[in-house]
């Protein structure tokens, strides 16, 4: 009897579910429909009416209503993104996050730093966890095209290198046949390493960790013969070794690593904003505008028209981005120009990566930093 009762109960439930499904269906459909409408709305702005230059960024609106920029950063690479003893994020990359916060809110503290591992960073962008990712990320074809991410102007031209012990006797990669190499998971370095050894016809054993400090400890303990990463990061990691003087970075460069800001594909206006804040910081150095003289220059009437445009004295460049007219004055006053940011973190007082003669010098000085004109 009891079984029979249970069975009828199940039948009733099943019948009701089936019956209930029909009236519920349209409800679900309407939910989906309203969603689709919003998607089409933003796309109409972008695709169907490109001539009207509607400078409305859904992301910028969201950031403004949040009151802060959510910025994906590194927390373990001295010089670029590092959580210091005081619990503050410092570094070259994090200063660009602060620059964005100043551009939007005129407040360098309006940033929410999200420390991300190399493996998490793109998923964080794809799932809207962060508004922008400034975490020494290399611009590559597949990341740009396939991952649903867009890359901004390169802020640092890097290249992959190899750190070895001085007493190992290695002078180039060609000496390293059969070596064990510590490498970070989910990075282009993992692929470049395979390419570099394969091109030289050598074998190697990769030892893969998902945190940069774990690779460094394993190398420092002698588990690996070499530690590979971007040269700028190696310079920082070398300072964390038990005895930094025992290690050297080989001269060879295994790859091109242009590093810069990244955002999720789909909001061009937000991308423009990020790109032009970065460009503005580089132009400021080109024009000799620094955090100490920017107020003075902006108060007067600069002779150079580009300086006038950059500082919002001429034209309406800030409004086109949805920002205050003089946003670059605030940015330069708060974080400084490119040279100042570089010297603060990567100069002799920081991790000491020589700038003169490198790709990261201004184009006038033989480097690759060549920002498009501000007009």
């Amino acid at each position: 009897m009891r079984k029979l009762f249970a069975l009828t109960g199940i039948l009733i439930v099943a019948g009701l579910v089936l019956a209930a499904c029909a009236p519920v269906e349209p409800e679900v459909v309407t939910v989906v429909e309203t969603k689709e409408v919003t998607v089409i709305e933003t796309q109409e702005v972008q695709v169907k009416v490109p001539v009207s230059f509607v400078m409305e960024s859904a992301r910028l609106e969201a950031v403004k209503s949040n009151g802060k920029v959510r910025c994906g950063v590194n927390s373990g690479v001295p010089g670029f993104g590092f959580l210091n003893e005081a619990g503050e994020f410092t570094g070259f990359d994090t200063d660009f996050c602060r620059a964005l916060a100043v551009a939007i809110f005129n407040d360098p503290t309006a940033v929410e730093f999200r420390p991300l591992t190399a493996a998490e960073r793109f998923t964080a962008l794809q799932t809207n966890e962060v508004d922008v990712l400034i975490r020494n990320t290399t611009w590559t074809f597949s990341r740009d095209v396939e991952l649903g991410t867009d890359f901004g102007p390169t802020t640092f031209y890097d290249g992959q290198g190899m750190m070895v012990r001085k007493d190992s006797g290695f002078t180039s990669l060609s000496d390293m046949g059969g070596a064990t190499v510590c490498v970070l998971s989910g990075t282009t370095t993992e692929l470049n390493l395979a390419d570099a050894f394969s091109a030289r016809g050598l074998t190697y054993d990769p030892l893969v960790f998902d945190k940069s400090d774990e690779t460094a400890v394993a190398y420092d303990e002698g588990r690996c013969d070499g530690l590979t990463s971007d040269k700028s990061q190696l310079a920082g990691l070398r300072t964390t070794m038990t005895n930094p003087a025992d290690h050297q970075i080989l001269a060879e460069t295994m790859s091109k690593e242009p590093l810069g800001p990244v955002w999720a594909h789909g909001d061009q206006q937000w991308g423009d904003l990020v790109s032009w804040v970065v460009n503005g910081i580089i132009i400021a150095e080109e024009k000799g505008i620094t955090s100490s003289n920017v107020a003075e220059i902006a108060a007067g009437t600069p002779e150079d028209p580009e300086v006038a445009r950059l500082l919002g004295l001429e034209g309406s460049f800030g409004e086109l981005l949805g920002l205050a007219p003089d946003f670059m004055v605030n940015v330069i006053a708060a974080v400084g120009n490119y040279g100042e940011i570089y010297d603060r973190h990567l100069g002799p007082e920081g991790t000491d990566i020589p700038r003169e003669g490198s790709f990261n010098a201004l184009w006038k000085d033989g480097g690759l930093l060549y920002p498009p004109p501000w007009r």
Binding site: I12, L16, F122, Q126, G186, D195, D205, V208, H265
Partner: protein
Amino acid sequence: MTLNTPKTALLQPSRRSFWRDTRFLQALAQIIFVILVLIAGRWLVGNLLTSLDERGLDLNFSFFQRTAGFGIGEGLPFERTDTYWRAYVVGFVNSIRVIVFGLVLATVLGILTGIALLSSNWLLRNLVSAYVEVMRNTPLLVQLFFIYFGIILKLPSLQDRLTFGPFSLSNRGFYLPRAVPQEGSTLWLALTVAALVGGIILYRVLLRRRILTGVETWPGLKASLLIFGVPLLSWFLLSGSPYSIEYPELVGLRIEGGARLTPEFTGILFGLVIYTAAFIADIVRAGILAVPKGQLEAAKASGMTQAQVLRLVILPQAMRVIIPPLTNQYLNLAKNSSLAVGVGFPDLYNISSTIFNQSGQAVQVLSLMMVTYLLMSLSISAVMNALNARLKILER
């Protein structure tokens, strides 16, 4: 609905209106709950599909055929030019290796420790219970880091390695000689296996005869003569020895030849075994204590030795209590093996995270990984449930 009405009417003759009937209300509440869950699920999936669509991504598995482009440190042979799928398989096999060795070693260590927890030896009992308490009450990841970074990597470097004859130990791993099969090894192996099987059958037959007739038949002696005699004789009688020994030697930067236990494999295996064995020990202790005292006393009274009491009376009955919670620990061990990424061992999780990073296809890789772990866990459960069922039948 119409079909069910007469039956419910039969069961419930009361005339109460249906909206005041508790059973109806309960059913209604459950239906509403199911519908809400379905709506939430649909919303979540729809959300995922919309955001994938916005970024021009899809849920296709064909990227597994693309070239991986990275290297893998240990496991099946893997080249830079192999596919992502091959990398996934390498990771899977590495995980299985850790899990299988881990289950066997954790069981052996756990049972021994569990018995020692009940030992009458004060020193042994307290040492073992200190081990169990420390292991059970600290996080596994912390233990793994300690074992790998704090113990294994602190071993001497390859240049200053410790050697004991043909064995050597350094922070590059433990190297030992390896038997390399030669011509005739298959025949020798076949003979050995045949002798082993024959020996076990012989032992059983002779033992049974001794029990039935009371005449001494020397089952152990005769069986071991067969099991050890055949391989020894055939080793010398076959032309050339079936195996040669390969010694590890230092060549340049690495040791070539011989067998090797890598620090990463040792780290994750050792960590999982001593952690899980602590839990198993407590389960074994509880299982033994669950056997009624009368059983122990009766066994002792019938003149059995301590070992016989344990092997023939206590453990078979304790197993009934032990197996269900033991299954849980086995599943934990299998799932915890994914912590291998912390010590750099290329297991399924480690390689999968590399794959989804390099390919950007997180949803597909993660769902495939979940299905794989689910299948592993379900297989372990199935085996343990079968074992449980068998022991239950033997009980009466």
